[in-house]
C-alpha cells in the first residue's frame, strides 16, 4: 500500500494507446459483449443479403463454349443399355453378376479398357485415432467372407493424343440386386456420354467410368475403389482372395473367354491423377413440375469442392440444358413467418437506403431472402455435421473435387420423355467433362470455403467469418474483466479488514497467493476437459459389447460418463475444492477460465470446420456469458436477475448436446418419432465418418456445459 502511494506521486507513465483501448474495452465488457453478440447474430442473418453471384473464376474452363456433340444416336445406344439392364433384372435377380457382365460387354464394344474391382465392405468401426489421419491402405480386413463382396465395373477411355497424366471420373452408383429404373437410367446417360467420348478427338484427360456397386452403400463402393486406386496394395491379399473364393474368379474367367483379344483385364486399371469427379444419379420418382437437378457438394468435415465446379454445372444446366438447379434447403424454414417478416424488414431498409443513395443496391426481395436463408441454413447444417452428403465425399478425402448430381425428372413413362432426359442429362455431363477437360491445373482459382445461399449465389469466407468473429470477440474481454474483478474485489475486502500494522507483509503475501488463485479454477476446467476426452473415448469400448441395441448403448454411455466424472472429481479435485469453497467470487474465476477455454476451443474448431464452430458459438457464447450462480440471482430478486435466471435455465437445457439433438430432430421431423437410441445412432454416424464435430461436442461443448451448470449451482 505504501509503495502504491509513493508511486502515485510520481508522474504516471504513458500507456500506449492500444493498451488503453484494451483497458477501456475490458472495463466496458458488458456493453461490448452485448453489442458484439447481437451484431454477430444479426450479421449471420444478413448473410443471404450479402451473398454474391457466382462467376466462373478459372478462365480455362470455358463452359458452354463448345456446342454439344451428343446426338440421338448416342441416346439410342444409352436406351439400348437401359432396356437390356431392366430385362436382365427380371431374368436373374439372385445375383448381380449378370448385369455387371452386360455393362462390361457394352464398354468393351466401345473399345474401352474394362476391369472389375472386387471389394469387401468395411465395418463402421470407431477408431479414436483416425479423425484427422488420411485414409490408408493398411486396413487389412480379417473378417471378410466370400459371400459378401461387391463388384465395381470400371471402364477407361484413354485420351487419343493426351499424355495420360490426368483423368476425369464419372460415377454411377448401381445396385444390381434391386435396381430401380432411375439407376438404370443413370447408367444409360453415362453410357451415352461414354460412347460419345470414345469417338471424339479433343480429349486431353482420360475418362474413367465407375459403375459402383451400391449394395453396401454408394459411399463404401466408391471409397473402396478410390483406396485401391490411390494406395495400391503390394500384398498377397488378392491372391489369397482368389484362392479362397473360387466363385468370384469364375466371373472373370467367363469374361475372358467370351471376349478374347479385347481390352479386358483382370488387374486393376488406372489412369492419371483425377481432375474432377461427377457422381450421377437419377431419382426414381420425380414429383416436380419440371426437370430438376440437385447438387450435393458437402464432403466430410464441411469440406467443399471448388466453387468453380458447381458454377460450371449450374451454368450449363441452367443456360444450356434448361434444367432447374436445386441445392438442399431446410424446408421447415421456408414457411416460417418470422423469417419472412425479417426479410421484409431488410427489403424496406434497402429501399430506404436506395432513396438516400441511388447507387447502393444490396436489397433482395423477401421471398428470395427466405429461400436464401433456408439454403444457407442447410448449407451450414450439412457442413457442421461433417458427414458427406453423397459418394462424392470419398473423393474429397483425396483432394479431388467432386459433386453428386441427382436428376429428378418430371415423371412419365413416355419413351420420348426418356430420350429427352437421356439427351439433356448426357449433354450436361458432356459439357461439364469438356469444360474440365480444358483445365490445365487442378481447380484452384475459385473458393473452397464458402456457403451457398442459392445455386448461383454464395457467401465467401471473408464475409461469413465476420459473424463468427463478432460472436466470439467478447469472450476474451469478459474473461479478462472477470479475472480483474475477482482479484480486485477480494483485494478490497482484505484491505478493509486488515489492520494497518500488518499491511505490507500480508499484502505482499496476499498478492502472490491471489495472482495464482486462478490456477485452482484452471485445474477444475482442466479436469472437466479431461473428463470430456474420456467421455468421447468411451464409445470405443461400448462398441466392443456384442448385441447391444442403441438405447442400451446410450444408457451405458451416460452411466459410465457420470461415474467417471464422480471418480475424477473425488480423486483429483476434492482436496483443493474444499479450500476454495470458502472463498467468495470463486465462481467468477471459474467462469473466466471456462470462457477462455471455450474461446480457444471455438477458435481451433473454426479452422477445422467453420460451420460447427459457428453453430456451437451461437449456443455456447450466450451460455458462457450469462452463467451466474442461481443463488445470487434469487437473492437479488430484481426483474433483471429473473430474466437472467430464465435465460440461464433455457440455455442450460438447450446446450446439453443430447437435448439439442432431440430438439433439432423434433423441429425437423416432429417429436413423435424421437427415440433415446437415435442419439447413439447419430453419434455413431459421426465417428464413422471421422467427423470432427464429434470431437468438438465431446471435448469442447460438453465440458463447457458441465462447467456452466456447475457455476449455476455454485454455492456462494
Amino acid at each position: 500500500m505504501a509503495e502504491t502511494r509513493e508511486k502515485s506521486h510520481k508522474p504516471k507513465p504513458r500507456v500506449r494507446p492500444i493498451v488503453r483501448l484494451g483497458i477501456f474495452l475490458v472495463s466496458h465488457s458488458f456493453l461490448v459483449s452485448v453489442v458484439c453478440c447481437t451484431s454477430g447474430v444479426l450479421a449471420l442473418f444478413l448473410l443471404p443479403v450479402l451473398a454474391k453471384n457466382t462467376y466462373i473464376s478459372e478462365n480455362a474452363l470455358m463452359p458452354g463454349s463448345a456446342s454439344p456433340m451428343l446426338s440421338n444416336q448416342h441416346v439410342l445406344d444409352g436406351n439400348r443399355l437401359v432396356k437390356d439392364l431392366t430385362n436382365s433384372n427380371l431374368k436373374s435377380s439372385e445375383t448381380g453378376i449378370e448385369s455387371h457382365k452386360i455393362i462390361a460387354q457394352y464398354m468393351l464394344d466401345l473399345g474401352a479398357e474394362v476391369s472389375f474391382h472386387k471389394f469387401h465392405p468395411q465395418m463402421n468401426q470407431f477408431h479414436p485415432l483416425h479423425f484427422f489421419s488420411s485414409p490408408d491402405s493398411g486396413k487389412i480386413q480379417e473378417n471378410y467372407s466370400c459371400s459378401s463382396y461387391g463388384i465395381n465395373t470400371v471402364g477407361v477411355i484413354r485420351a487419343p493424343r493426351g499424355d495420360g497424366k490426368e483423368a476425369i471420373v464419372l460415377v454411377t452408383p448401381y445396385n444390381a440386386l434391386k435396381s430401380g429404373f432411375g439407376e438404370a437410367l443413370s447408367l444409360g446417360i453415362a453410357y451415352s456420354v461414354f460412347s460419345l467420348l470414345t469417338q471424339v478427338t479433343w480429349l486431353a484427360k482420360d475418362i474413367i467410368w465407375l459403375v459402383a456397386d451400391s449394395q453396401f452403400g454408394e459411399y463404401a463402393a466408391v471409397s473402396a475403389w478410390l483406396r485401391e486406386y490411390q494406395t495400391p496394395k503390394f500384398s498377397s491379399l488378392s491372391t489369397l482372395n482368389s484362392e479362397m473364393c473360387p466363385d468370384i474368379n469364375n466371373l472373370f474367367e467367363i469374361k475372358v473367354h467370351s471376349v478374347a483379344g479385347s481390352k479386358f483385364s483382370n488387374s486393376f486399371r488406372r489412369a492419371g491423377t483425377m481432375a474432377a469427379a461427377l457422381v450421377l444419379k437419377v431419382r426414381d420418382q420425380g414429383e416436380q413440375f419440371e426437370d430438376t437437378i440437385s447438387i450435393y457438394a458437402e464432403a466430410s468435415n464441411g469440406q467443399m469442392p471448388n466453387l468453380d465446379l458447381i458454377n460450371v454445372v449450374n451454368y450449363l444446366a441452367v443456360h444450356r440444358q434448361g434444367l432447374r438447379v436445386n441445392v438442399e434447403k431446410l424446408r421447415s424454414l421456408l414457411n416460417s413467418s418470422w423469417l419472412k417478416s425479417l426479410g421484409e424488414i431488410f427489403e424496406s431498409l434497402a429501399k430506404v437506403a436506395k432513396t438516400l443513395n441511388p447507387k447502393c443496391k444490396f436489397g433482395i426481395p423477401a421471398t428470395e431472402y427466405v429461400e436464401g436463408t433456408a439454403t444457407l441454413a442447410s448449407s451450414l447444417y450439412y457442413q457442421a455435421l461433417g458427414v458427406p452428403t453423397g459418394p462424392h465425399g470419398a473423393f474429397r478425402d483425396y483432394q479431388v473435387d467432386a459433386i453428386t448430381l441427382e436428376i429428378s425428372p418430371k415423371f412419365s413413362l413416355d419413351k420420348v420423355w426418356r430420350n429427352d432426359i437421356l439427351l439433356r442429362g448426357g449433354r450436361l455431363i458432356e459439357g461439364v467433362i469438356r469444360s474440365v477437360n480444358n483445365l490445365l491445373e487442378k481447380f484452384h482459382q475459385s473458393f473452397f470455403l464458402y456457403l451457398l445461399t442459392s445455386p448461383s449465389k454464395f457467401v465467401s469466407v471473408g464475409v461469413y467469418m465476420i459473424a463468427f468473429a463478432l460472436l466470439i470477440a467478447p469472450l476474451p474481454m469478459v474473461a479478462a474483466s472477470l479475472y480483474v474483478d475477482a482479484n480486485s474485489s477480494s483485494n478490497f475486502l482484505k484491505g478493509d479488514s486488515s489492520t494497518p500494522s500488518a499491511v505490507t507483509d500480508a499484502a505482499e503475501h496476499g498478492i502472490t497467493i491471489r495472482s495464482w488463485k486462478w490456477l485452482n479454477s484452471a485445474k477444475l476446467v482442466f479436469i472437466v476437459h479431461l473428463w470430456g476426452a474420456i467421455v468421447s473415448l468411451l464409445p470405443y469400448f461400448i462398441c466392443q459389447i456384442p448385441d447391444c441395441s442403441p438405447t442400451t448403448s446410450f444408457v451405458i454411455w451416460v452411466l459410465l460418463s457420470i461415474l467417471s466424472l464422480l471418480i475424477l472429481n473425488s480423486v483429483l479435485a476434492s482436496p483443493l475444492a474444499c479450500v476454495k469453497a470458502s472463498q467468495e467470487k470463486e465462481w467468477a474465476l471459474v467462469k473466466s477460465v471456462t470462457i477462455s477455454s471455450v474461446f480457444i476451443g471455438l477458435g481451433l474448431m473454426s479452422v477445422i470446420n467453420f460451420a460447427t464452430a459457428e453453430i456451437g458459438a451461437l449456443v455456447m457464447v450466450p451460455m458462457c456469458l450469462l452463467a451466474q450462480p442461481l443463488k445470487l440471482d434469487v437473492r437479488a430478486g430484481t426483474l433483471r436477475s429473473c430474466c437472467r435466471i430464465i435465460c440461464n435455465l433455457v440455455l442450460g437445457h438447450i446446450a446439453f448436446p443430447p437435448a439439442a439433438f432431440f430438439l433439432l430432430k423434433g423441429m425437423l421431423d416432429g417429436f413423435g418419432s424421437a427415440n433415446v437410441g437415435d442419439f447413439w445412432m447419430w453419434v455413431e454416424s459421426l465417428w464413422a465418418w471421422n467427423s470432427a464435430t464429434y470431437l468438438f461436442i465431446g471435448m469442447v461443448q460438453l465440458p463447457c456445459w458441465v462447467l456452466c451448470v456447475s457455476i449455476l449451482f455454485h454455492s456462494c
Binding site: S67, R161, L440
Partner: protein
C-alpha cells in the same frame, strides 16, 4: 519587309552553296537520313500460352499469312508462337488452326515457318531479335537482319495491361523495355520505319515511352479498355480471333499487292463500336503524312522503282539488285510520293530550299544529270562548234536590232 522579301531569293542563292556543302558532309557522315527503302521485315509475336488463348495464335498466324501474301518472303518474317495450339490435345482438328468458324482456311499449312516456338518465346529472346544481340550460334533464319533502309512491321498479341504485355504467363515486357529496344534499333541503324501493332488489352499504354523517330504505333485499345475476341467457334470450343485483328484482316483481304490504300485508311477503318474498344495510333516523330503512306510500306514488300538511264549510276546504292517489285506507275492523289527520278528533280527545282531537296540535287550533279539546262551548259562549255556559235549570236542580234530601232523611233 519589302526589301527583305526582295532580298529573299538572293539570300537563298547565297545560302545554297553553304547548304550544299553541309549536306554533302552530312551525307557522308550519316547515311541514315538519306537511306532508301531497301527491304521489308515482319516480326510477329504471339505471347500467350494455353488452349484458351487459341485466338492469339490464330491472330498471329493470320497476320503471317497476310504479310506473306502481300509479298514479304518467309526469310524476312520472324514468327514467334508461344504455344502450339495445332497439336494441343484439346484441338478437335489436329494440326490445324482456324481463324473463322467456317473453317475454310487452315492457317497452319505446310508453308508456315515458325522461328521461335513454345518456351523459346521469352522477353529476352524477343529483345534479342529486335536489337540483334544474338549469341553466335543462333542461325540466320532466327535473326532480324534488317538495315537502315528496312521497314519493319512488329505485331504483338497476347494479354496485356497498363504498360506491359505478358509473355508466357510468367514474365512481362514493359513499355520501357520496348522503347529501349526500339531506341537501340534506331541507334544501330536497324530500321528506317517501324510500325508497331499491338492487340492486347490497354494496348495503347505500351507505347507511352516510345520516342524514337520513324516509329508508328497502333494499339487495339486505350488505357482502361479491354480488347475483345470477335467470335467463338462452337465446334472447336474456343474464341478464334480477336476483334482488332479480325477487322485488320478484313481490311487486308480486299487488297492485293498493287493497291495503294494508305495507312490512314487502315487506321480510320477501325470502328470503335465494332471493336468494342478504341483503336489508338501514335504518330510520334513519324514524319510522313499517313495519307501518303501506303499500307504496303509495312505489310507488303513493295519497293520504289527507280528508273535510271544508265545502269549502276543514278542512285545505284547497294541492294539495288533487290528491287524486285514494281509499283504501279499512276501517281494517284493519295500517293504523290516521288517514285521516279523525274519527280525528284521537279522537287529540286521547286523546293530547293529544303535540305533533302538539296541532297537530291547533289546526287543529280554527282550522277549523270538529265536536266536540260545542265545539258545545255555542258554543250556550251565543250564548245565543239564555233561556227554555229557565231551563227546563233548573229541570230540573237536580230531582236536587239529590232528593239533598239523601235525604241529610237
Amino acid at each position: 519587309m519589302d526589301t527583305f522579301n526582295n532580298s529573299k531569293p538572293v539570300l537563298h542563292l547565297l545560302l545554297l552553296p553553304c547548304l550544299l556543302l553541309y549536306s554533302s558532309i552530312a551525307f557522308s557522315s550519316s547515311s541514315v537520313e538519306a537511306a532508301m527503302h531497301t527491304n521489308n521485315w515482319a516480326v510477329l509475336v504471339c505471347t500467350s500460352r494455353f488452349w484458351f488463348n487459341y485466338r492469339h495464335m490464330a491472330n498471329t498466324l493470320s497476320l503471317y499469312r497476310t504479310v506473306k501474301r502481300l509479298g514479304i518472303p518467309d526469310e524476312r518474317i520472324i514468327l514467334m508462337l508461344a504455344d502450339d495450339m495445332a497439336c494441343n490435345t484439346r484441338n478437335k482438328y489436329p494440326a490445324q488452326v482456324f481463324n473463322n468458324e467456317n473453317h475454310r482456311l487452315n492457317l497452319y499449312g505446310d508453308n508456315v515457318e515458325v522461328d521461335y516456338r513454345g518456351y523459346e518465346v521469352t522477353v529476352e529472346n524477343f529483345l534479342r531479335v529486335l536489337t540483334g544481340r544474338h549469341e553466335t550460334a543462333v542461325p540466320r533464319s532466327k535473326r532480324l537482319l534488317s538495315d537502315e533502309g528496312s521497314h519493319i512491321l512488329l505485331y504483338m498479341t497476347g494479354h496485356g495491361g497498363d504498360e506491359f504485355l505478358k509473355f508466357q504467363d510468367s514474365e512481362e515486357l514493359q513499355s520501357h523495355d520496348l522503347a529501349d529496344a526500339v531506341k537501340q534499333m534506331k541507334e544501330k541503324h536497324r530500321f528506317k520505319e517501324l510500325l508497331i501493332m499491338v492487340d492486347t488489352c490497354q494496348a495503347a499504354t505500351l507505347f507511352n515511352q516510345l520516342q524514337s523517330p520513324g516509329v508508328l504505333a497502333i494499339g487495339s485499345s486505350m488505357k482502361g479498355e479491354n480488347s475483345y475476341s470477335h467470335h467463338l467457334d462452337s465446334d472447336v470450343g474456343v474464341s478464334v480471333v480477336d476483334r482488332f485483328t479480325y477487322y485488320t484482316l478484313a481490311f487486308f483481304e480486299r487488297l492485293n499487292i498493287y493497291d495503294n490504300a494508305s495507312l490512314s485508311s487502315l487506321f480510320s477503318s477501325y470502328n470503335p463500336s465494332w471493336l468494342m474498344s478504341t483503336a489508338y495510333y501514335r504518330k510520334g516523330v513519324y514524319k510522313r503524312s499517313l495519307e501518303e503512306v501506303p499500307v504496303t510500306t509495312f505489310f507488303g514488300s513493295v519497293m520504289e522503282t527507280i528508273h535510271t538511264d544508265a545502269a549502276y549510276k543514278a542512285l545505284s546504292r547497294r541492294n539495288s539488285g533487290r528491287f524486285e517489285a514494281q509499283t504501279s506507275l499512276d501517281q494517284s492523289v493519295y500517293h504523290p510520293e516521288r517514285r521516279t527520278q523525274m519527280k525528284v528533280n521537279d522537287r529540286d527545282e521547286t523546293h530547293n530550299i529544303n535540305p533533302e531537296g538539296n541532297k537530291q540535287l547533289l546526287q543529280g550533279q554527282e550522277g549523270a544529270s538529265k536536266c536540260p539546262w545542265n545539258t545545255f551548259c555542258n554543250k556550251f562549255l565543250k564548245a565543239e562548234n564555233v561556227d554555229s556559235l557565231v551563227n546563233y549570236g548573229l541570230v540573237a542580234m536580230v531582236p536587239f536590232l529590232v528593239i533598239s530601232t523601235w525604241l529610237v523611233r
